[in-house]
């Protein structure tokens, strides 16, 4: 059984292995033990803190194989994007250029640098080992964050965003970067991503164009890359679109990948999740697959189990699962159907 739980400092080496595997563009997973250590420490501190509204907290989770102790995935949440530094994105916008005299009425697609998404909660650092793609465990480490948010709404904003890595080729070149960012700093996409993951993304964003970019002037390859998803990020994208995230309005200023956005309360796994009292039983009955979490903080646990449950009724939980989640009879779990 795989279990999602907060990362601890002891996980650092394993986490760094995951970070090294993650594709270029997931700047929130730098292959740098110092930065990863900071990430884990910040998460532990955030979980331990009394929080009444979203601020500088961040949370970082790992997916552990309980039989081997090996970590096979990770994911994170930033409580408030742009809390200490502005959160930049390109907004897809339409300008109308019209002349009554010439009877012309053109709609021009432009990208406007904006900070619209500042203050939203941000889902970050998602990565699972390749063999888990398509399995319920990938859903767990991604959507488990949503169950965590559902249990601790005071810690998060009214909106949630996810940055999806955009297109780049095997040699690490991004057509969108080459047509846009590259003109403003003289380094490859891969180098820029590396730099911004080691320092801050804002650092480079400040050097990006501040005037709107007229999309028709961009090369075809860059126009086509806008809003496109990197094959290795397709999983994350698919999970989030099924959760009801909107994909059309914002793109990443570096690689043009889509930035997804949803009202927190409207996210499927949050809106449809329910609390159920637990009854621990010796052997449970299979049925439908559910994501389950214990609703904890430092002791947060989530997993996927097949259950036969009727809403409004107690949840019959095998002792093995109850133990993995750290719940006992009389306690409760938050759950949502996997599919």
């Amino acid at each position: 059984m795989l279990v999602m739980r907060p990362a601890q400092m002891a996980d650092l080496a394993d986490v760094q292995r995951l970070a090294a595997e993650s594709p270029v563009g997931v700047t929130s997973l730098p292959d740098d033990s110092g930065r990863l250590g900071d990430k884990i420490a910040a998460s532990q501190a955030s979980l331990a803190a009394e929080v009444s509204f979203s601020g500088e907290e961040s949370y970082f989770f790992v997916l552990e194989d309980r039989s081997t102790g090996r970590l096979v995935g990770c994911s994170g949440i930033v409580a408030s994007a742009g809390y200490s530094e502005p959160f930049y994105s390109f907004r897809n916008e339409t300008f109308v250029h019209a002349s009554r005299e010439l009877k012309i009425h053109n709609k021009i697609h432009v990208l406007s640098m904006c900070h619209d998404l500042t203050g939203n909660s941000l889902l970050t650092s998602f990565h699972v080992e390749p063999e888990l793609v398509g399995s319920p465990w990938a859903e767990l480490i991604s959507r488990g964050r949503l169950l965590f948010m559902a249990s601790h709404p005071e810690r998060f904003a009214d909106g949630v965003v996810v940055e999806i890595v955009g297109l780049s080729d095997e040699s690490g070149d991004s057509p969108f970067w080459d047509a846009v960012g590259h003109h403003f700093f003289d380094m490859s996409y891969a180098a820029a991503e590396r730099l911004s993951s080691l320092r801050s993304r804002t650092y480079l964003a400040e050097m990006m164009p501040h005037y709107p970019i007229y999309v028709p002037l961009l090369p075809d390859a860059a126009q086509e890359a806008m809003g496109q998803v990197h094959p290795r990020a397709q999983l994350s994208f698919d999970i989030m679109t099924r959760e009801g995230f909107e994909t059309e309005h914002y793109i990443d200023i570096f690689d043009g990948g889509p930035i997804l956005h949803a009202r927190t309360g409207g996210i499927r796994s949050i809106a449809h999740s329910a609390l159920a009292p637990v009854e621990v039983v010796a052997a449970g009955q299979g049925g439908r697959a559910y994501l389950l979490s214990n609703g904890g903080l430092l002791d947060f646990r989530a997993t996927v189990v097949e259950l036969d449950w009727t809403p409004g009724q107690p949840l019959l939980l095998r002792s093995e699962v109850a133990e993995a989640l750290g719940v006992a009879s009389g306690g409760s779990v938050r759950l949502v159907a996997l599919d």
Binding site: F95, I108, M207, P212, L217
Partner: protein
């Protein structure tokens, strides 16, 4: 040869001239559109009568040979942009630099501005190819400067001239292809024609309004920014010698340079003198002068060898006749050539 104001009787020949220019593009201000030309002639007549406000004044001159044939045109617009906005791009610079990251990148940036509003424009210069020899070109172009020197109060403190930008044999402008075409579904020739018939402000409404980073244009287009069409290089050289220079403004369609000069610093304005006409033998050492009869409505300007002597300008009989002057009449004159060849500022 004489430069004189256009008259309505010139209209048929003007239309012919306009058609003959339309084989190439770029002479925006003389499109082969009869209604527009008739209107221009009417405006010009009003301007030379002193009945036009500066913002409407359009002084259209023709070059007439001694047989009375009209072979070229040139014009002065009293002040641009007072009726409809007058747009240019100004080429500025955006720098992305970080000492800490040791990064530095320059991006030329085009700002859509109306900065040149209110200035006097030199435009509509056209000379039939078979007359492009001797002093004809310089007479036709520089006659305007002498006219301005005489009637300073009719003109602004700065003169500008928009020079034709780069285009290929098929009149394809690389700047237009890279920018304008995305905003208008039309050929450069057509936009140029619309500009000529007075619709430039409307077209400008369709252009991008926010500053444009040149890096988003094609390399060919970037190279065309501020570059003059090879065929207009002589016109540029002539203006440069008079003191005009390029200060970063370009045309919004083809990115051709706008050159400018303070009126008071234009050589022909600064150095022209009022003299008394004398008829005689200018002599072997005579240099060519531009000579103006100091009239507005009945303006006549000629180019001829002449000699200055004690407040008089000695010309031959034929020149006096062309100017319709007799000895003792006043003229304004300046040598045709600049004394030292000025360079165009980069």
């Amino acid at each position: 040869m004489i430069v004189r104001p256009v008259r309505s009787a010139d209209l048929p020949v003007l239309i012919e001239l306009a058609h003959s220019t339309s084989s190439g593009t770029g002479l925006t201000s003389l499109p082969p559109n009869e209604a527009r030309l008739a209107q221009r002639v009417a405006w010009a007549e009003a301007a030379f009568r002193g009945e036009a406000e500066k913002g409407d004044a359009d002084y259209l001159f023709v070059l007439e040979d001694d047989e009375g044939r009209v072979v070229g045109t040139s014009a002065i617009t009293g002040a641009v942009g007072l009726r409809e906005p007058w747009y240019n791009y100004r080429v500025g610079l955006t720098v992305s630099a970080s000492r800490e990251l040791n990064l530095y990148r320059e991006n030329p940036t085009l700002f859509l501005v109306n900065d040149l509003t209110g200035n006097t424009e030199l435009c509509s210069l056209f000379l039939l190819p078979e007359y492009r020899s001797g002093l004809n070109g310089r007479l036709l172009s520089k006659a305007r400067l002498l006219f301005i020197a005489e009637f300073r109060e009719l003109f602004a403190a700065k003169l500008i001239s928009e020079l034709r930008g780069m285009s290929d044999e098929a009149a394809r402008s690389p700047f237009w292809e890279s920018l304008g075409r995305h905003f208008f579904k039309m050929e450069f020739r057509q936009a140029d024609y619309l500009t000529g018939i007075g619709s430039k402000a409307f077209i400008a409404q369709l252009m991008p309004r926010f500053p444009l980073y040149a890096c988003f244009l094609s390399e060919e287009a970037r190279k065309a920014i501020g570059r003059v069409h090879p065929q207009s290089e002589p016109a540029l050289a002539m203006l440069a010698a008079e003191g005009f220079s390029h200060q970063g403004y370009v045309d919004i369609f083809d990115a051709g340079p706008v050159v400018e000069c303070e009126t008071a610093k234009v050589r022909a304005v600064r150095e022209s003198r009022t003299l008394v006409l004398a008829v005689g033998t200018p002599g072997d050492e005579a240099e060519p002068f531009l000579i103006h009869n100091r009239e507005c409505r009945d303006c006549r300007i000629a180019a001829a060898p002449a000699r200055m002597a004690a407040g008089t300008l000695v010309v031959d009989q034929a020149t006096a006749r062309r100017l319709r002057l007799v000895p003792g009449d006043q003229v304004r004159a300046v040598p045709v050539a600049a004394e030292s060849a000025a360079e165009l500022c980069p």
